[in-house]
């Protein structure tokens, strides 16, 4: 009887997980700043100290010329050695205070920025861990690595080097602007007018510069991916003698990076000369206007000299700010790319169990109810319904690409179906916590993956019960489970180090096997797990699997007739449709005719 399952997601939804595609939503400057602030949580005390030290420095910066002028006008003119000595000592004290403040400021700000970088990296990495496998299949590894490392680094460089100078210079500017206004507001307004002009120019060009910076970072990400791919596939590159092919592909991307970088850097690096020009311009205009004021008697020559000096001090910080702003834009572009990861959420959330159905240790351990699924618009699983009984062994057979592995992935909730419900022990699988669900379900992947480390590390990986065991204890556990002789082919037993290409796929699979068996799963899924293992070892592994409690349900995807023959029930899956086979012979017929294709 057909039951129409709940529609969970529209079938033609484009995945938000593809972050390498251009994004319509752009974050404004204010939004970017708002999301950066939480990273500074807990640093408020430090930031206050930094502000204080900055003010001390600015104070000494503004006071020093004044004291020096007093020294010139006073003791030196009056040939008063004692007062001169007094002022000199005063200056030394002033300078020592300033040095201590500057040291404290640099050190504290440095520590703050290291902690911020730490938090940022951790946050991005943790966000990555939260995301489902769908995300990883849609994005290139090299690009992700680039975002977590390089982009966070760029942000950090700005925060630690640029950020500090930005704040102190900003406050300097305020102080000097005040002095100028105090001396002569008309001349001051000339300076402010010029400042406004250059700020407007900067603001207009900002979105354009930001866009180019973003493209630059994307190209950098592409470069990372290309390098990643080449290093990973080095064997094939050598064996097929396609070094030239790879080189030309790489050179193309290298060229793209080159072109965008040239654009970004020419734009960014020319900001400073522009500021210098405006600074010089201001001196010239002030000189001309000031001269007229002197002729009309509005100001004295002394005031003009002083004003020119302060105006010079005004544009100095502004000039440096110019170059820092360039870095800011680069940092913001990097921040956007990092944000793209952080802002994503898992689409496999644990849902609240509203059904009130108790988890029963029923006969059925797993049920598919009208499940339809597609990675994108095309359906890979088509209205599939079946039931897995506890303790039985099921074989999934069918042509490659027909949907067997996808079915297995759905069983392990690596994806959620667009339509239909999957039930584990009569409860919606989505209501299980990750811990509970992975305790029940064991999965041996088609392509085994091992981490750098020893075999022992890999066996223990992800298993809270084994985590604390010593190697000796681990060996005992292996012995108890009849798994120890599988390690015999490794020279150093479980202390053997896994290195690049050091062991064969079959050997990797054996370790994957051991890893999963020790978890004692209630539902064991093997996705072509013994494909690369010789038949004698396979039999041995079969024996081991058979030693699991009789209540263990096994789902085996395989091609070998021998493996399939021993199953309790055989499901034939092709083009996303599941056909239960009546018996072994029926299954063979289904396989041979491949759904009626010639």
């Amino acid at each position: 009887m057909l039951k129409f399952g709940k529609v969970n997601k529209p079938l033609n939804m484009k995945s938000a997980y593809n972050i390498s595609q251009p994004n319509n939503e752009k974050q404004s400057f204010e939004q970017s700043i708002a999301t950066i602030i939480p990273l500074f949580a807990g640093e408020s005390k430090n930031l206050i100290i930094i502000v204080i030290t900055v003010l001390i420095n600015i104070g000494t910066g503004v006071l020093t010329p004044y004291v020096i002028t007093r020294a010139i006008d006073g003791p030196i003119t009056n040939k008063d050695i004692q007062s001169l000595a007094f002022i000199s000592v005063g200056l030394i004290v002033l300078f020592i205070i300033s040095a201590i403040a500057a040291y404290g400021q640099a050190r504290i700000m440095g520590y703050v920025s290291q902690r911020v970088l730490f938090r940022l990296r951790a946050k991005v990495f943790a966000s990555l861990q939260d995301l489902p496998i769908d995300f990883f299949n849609r994005n290139k590894a090299g690009d992700l690595i680039s975002r977590i490392n390089n982009d966070t680094n760029k942000i950090n460089q700005f925060l630690s080097e640029g950020g500090l100078r930005f704040t102190s210079l900003f406050f300097s500017l305020i102080g000097i602007a005040g002095m100028m206004l105090y001396l002569n507001w008309q001349l001051a307004s000339i300076v402010f007018l010029l400042t406004a002009t250059i700020l407007i120019i900067t603001r207009i060009t900002t979105p354009f510069i930001e866009k180019i910076n973003k493209i630059g970072l994307e190209n950098q990400g592409s470069l990372s991916s290309e390098v990643q791919e080449g290093l990973l596939n080095f064997n094939a590159i050598v064996a097929f003698q396609i070094q030239d092919y790879y080189k030309s592909s790489f050179n193309k991307i290298s060229e793209d990076v080159y072109k965008t970088k040239i654009q970004t850097n020419i734009l960014n690096d020319n900001i400073a000369p522009l500021y210098t020009f405006v600074a010089n311009l201001s001196q010239i205009i002030l000189l001309a206007v000031g001269f007229n004021f002197i002729l009309s008697g509005t100001i004295t020559i002394g005031l003009l000299i002083g004003f020119l000096a302060y105006a010079q001090k005004f544009f100095e910080p502004l000039r440096i700010l110019g170059s820092i702003v360039g870095n800011l834009q680069g940092a913001l572009a990097a921040w956007t790319r990092v944000q793209e990861i952080i802002s994503l959420e898992s689409n496999l959330k644990v849902e609240e169990d509203k059904s009130g159905v108790r988890k029963l240790k029923t006969k059925h351990i797993l049920e598919f109810e009208n499940v339809s699924f597609g990675y994108d618009e095309k359906l890979v699983i088509n209205n599939m319904s079946f039931v897995l009984e506890k303790g039985k062994t099921y074989a999934l057979v069918g042509p490659t690409g027909g949907g067997k592995s996808t079915t297995a992935s759905l069983m392990a909730r690596l994806y959620d179906p667009q339509q239909g419900i999957i039930k584990l022990y009569n409860k919606d699988i989505r209501t299980y916590t990750e811990t509970d669900r992975t305790k029940v379900t064991g999965f041996i992947l088609q392509e085994p993956f091992l981490f750098t480390g020893t075999i022992a590390d890999n066996i223990k990986y992800g298993n809270p019960d084994l985590e604390i065991k010593t190697n000796k204890e681990l060996i005992n556990i292996l012995k108890e489970n009849n798994l120890l002789n599988l390690i015999a082919s490794f020279e150093n037993g479980i202390t053997t180090n896994i290195e690049n290409n050091g062991i064969s796929i079959g050997q990797k699979q054996i370790i994957s096997f051991i890893r999963v068996i020790l978890r004692q799963p209630e539902l064991l899924i093997l996705d072509e797990a013994t494909a690369n293992i010789d038949t004698v070892t396979e039999q041995h592994l079969q024996d081991i699997i058979n030693q699991l409690p009789a209540t263990t349900t096994k789902v085996i995807i395989a091609h070998r007739l021998n493996t399939i023959k021993k199953a309790d029930k055989i499901f034939f899956i092709s083009q996303g449709i599941l056909t239960p086979a009546e018996d072994f012979q029926h299954a063979i017929n289904l396989i041979k005719t491949k759904d009626g294709e010639s």
Binding site: I68, L91, F95, S98, Y103, A106, G110, R121, A122, F125, L128, N137, A141, I145, N150, N153, L223, E229, L231, L232, F234, A236, A239, Q243, Y246, S254, E255, V257, Y258, I262, N265, I266, D269, P273, T276, F277, N280, L287, L304, G398, T400, G401, S405, A412, T438, E447, F449, N500, I505, G506, E528, N532, I533, D534, T535, T537, Q539, H559, N562, I591
Partner: protein, 576 residues
């Protein structure tokens, strides 16, 4: 390839050679723009002196014109200077990237196996960027700063030699402070880069192993792993700051003390009329000019130091000894018939013998299978036949001629190798098969048909032009293997080497492919590593390998009678 162990701290600047011309131009431009800029205060000062002395009759206009011209000159020269600087820097970066890739590509397979490849990854990506930063920002800034510094010192001496000497004492002290701090910092920068590599590695594995992590619910483990290395990075960061935060304040303090010294001594000189008030003011102004360049030198030396560390790392890779290319004039290029002989071939890695004195003969145009338990060394045999790895002892002969005497590139072209792991590139299906080789359409079609790839083509949205995602994650295992077979076949090989090819392919497809091979590539010498005996029963030769040793060879019926191990394998595959 061994990384060059010598000269770990010496820097090789020959990468600048192609750009020497531009660098000289750049230097001149920096000199001009900064020199001209230094003139402006002088001219301003003169104008002011003139105004203060005879304001009513002084004509300011010529000064204004002069100043304007100089300002525009400085702007234009700076713009050109920036553009040239950027071009040189980006060219150097691109050169490094391309050179590194070229160097890596010229290496044999053993290279990657010995290398930590996330190190290489860091080399090509962030190390190159660091070096580029030295050139684009560091070089120009430092040079400008030096010009201002030297210019100001000259001006100081031109005002009053005695006072200048006193003021200059501060400079060596400042240099001493710099040197002390930087000697200790470079070590820290080096470990900072190394930690960056390690971080890359953890991220790398976390991304590549994403599926495993999720089925094991091991996300927390990954976070803990990352946390550890992240903390290490932070600790090194702290240490660098401890040293670095003292740098600028220390230098400021020294120069400020110098100013007090000037005020004291200079003031006394003014008092005894050894120095005019105007000269005294000018002296202080110019001494103040020294401060900013010193700041810049300190600020920029930060990443110059980092840049040199990166440069060193890059050059270690580039300067590694060249792979010895065999003497190409004696190499054989003649047509391969397909006879392969192993004569007591052994293969050792790090003291462990993986293959022990394996000897066999494969006749051309025959079908051969290699069978044996997991990890017994079967894949190694295939790698040895193609020359991807070298035997530790013994000899391999192709058509009775030692493999060493053959042109390596030619051998690769004559052999088609299908690996166990799926190795697919992030490009279209068609390109994954052909890459950029020119192949006749007929050959291409034949390869597609034989490997049953057409069925895959029809299932993809854009046929052969569909982009395959990285590592082929939108295809099943069997589909990937078939594509790799097409890739091998398209080169019309004389010898086809299959490593457990049929493991991931269903029975029906397997039978089809094997018979297509027989039909479409009749002259082929086939060597197939397989687990299943049934399909290879009629092969000309079956080689049984166990624990690196050859136990027996022969036809199926011969082995069944002569080898207990073979019989056991056969037994285990029987469907009763």
């Amino acid at each position: 390839m061994q990384k060059s162990k010598t000269n770990t701290s010496k820097i090789d600047l020959k990468f600048i050679k192609p750009y020497i011309g531009w660098s000289v131009v750049l230097t001149i431009l920096i000199f001009l723009s900064n020199g001209a800029n230094l003139l402006i205060p002088r001219i301003l000062g003169n104008s002011i002196d003139n105004i203060s002395q005879n304001s009513s009759i002084y004509k300011l206009a010529p000064d204004i014109w002069l100043l304007s011209v100089i300002s525009i000159f400085v702007l234009l020269v700076s713009l050109v200077q920036t553009i040239i600087g950027v071009y040189v820097a980006e060219n150097v970066a691109r050169d490094f990237r391309d050179d590194l890739i070229e160097k890596i590509l010229s290496q044999p397979i053993s290279f990657i196996n010995e290398q930590d490849y996330s190190e290489l990854f860091t080399n090509i990506t962030s190390d190159v960027e660091q070096v580029k930063d030295i050139i684009s920002q560091g070089f120009a800034s430092i040079f400008s700063a030096l010009i201002i510094l030297i210019g100001s010192v000259i001006l100081l001496f031109s005002i009053n030699v005695r006072l200048a000497l006193i003021a200059i004492i501060s400079l060596p002290i400042i240099i001493a402070v710099f040197t002390f701090i930087f000697k200790n910092i470079s070590k820290l920068f080096r470990s900072s880069q190394e930690i960056l590599s390690k971080i890359n590695k953890v991220i790398n594995e976390s991304v590549l192993g994403a599926m495993l992590i999720r089925v094991l619910n091991a996300q927390n483990y990954e976070n803990i792993k990352f946390d550890k290395i992240n903390q290490q990075g932070r600790e090194v960061g702290f240490k660098i700051i401890n040293l670095f935060s003292s740098l600028i304040p220390a230098i400021n303090l020294v120069s400020n003390f110098a100013i007090v010294t000037i005020i004291w001594f200079g003031g006394r000189q003014v008092m005894v009329s050894d120095l005019t008030l105007g000269e005294f003011s000018a002296f202080i102004s110019y001494f103040n000019l020294l401060i900013t360049p010193i700041f810049i030198l300190g600020f920029v030396s930060n990443f110059i130091s980092r840049g040199f560390v990166s440069l060193n790392r890059i050059q270690q890779v580039l300067n590694a000894p060249e792979q010895i290319k065999s003497d190409s004039k004696n190499l054989i290029n003649q047509s391969v018939k397909g006879k392969i002989t192993f004569d007591k071939v052994s293969y050792e890695v790090k003291g462990k013998t993986l293959l022990k004195e394996v000897s066999f003969e494969i006749h051309s145009q025959t079908k051969n299978a290699i069978i044996g338990p997991t990890g017994s060394g079967k894949s190694l045999i295939l790698s040895l036949i193609t020359g991807l790895i070298q035997p530790s002892s013994g000899q391999i002969l192709i058509d009775d001629i030692p493999l060493k005497k053959w042109n390596q590139d030619y051998i690769f072209k004559t052999m088609g190798l299908v690996f166990q792991e799926s190795i697919l590139f992030n490009t279209t299906l068609r390109e994954n098969i052909l890459f950029n080789t020119k192949v006749e359409e007929v050959e291409y079609q034949k390869a597609l048909i034989t490997s049953n790839v057409y069925e895959i083509v029809n299932s993809l949205p854009e046929g052969t032009n569909t982009k395959i995602s990285e590592r082929g994650s939108n295809l099943s295992g069997g589909q990937k293997q078939r594509i790799m077979l097409a890739r091998a076949l398209v080169r019309n090989p004389k010898i086809l080497l299959l490593d457990d090819f049929t493991a991931r392919v269903d029975i029906k497809t397997e039978k089809e492919i094997i018979s297509s091979l027989a039909n479409n590539y009749p002259g082929l010498t086939l060597i197939s590593i397989t687990q299943k005996i049934e399909p290879i029963q009629d092969y000309d030769q079956i080689i049984l390998i166990m624990e690196g040793e050859l136990l027996a060879t022969g036809t199926h019926s011969q082995l069944f009678k002569s080898s207990i191990e073979y019989a056991q394998i056969w037994q285990s595959q029987q469907t009763t």
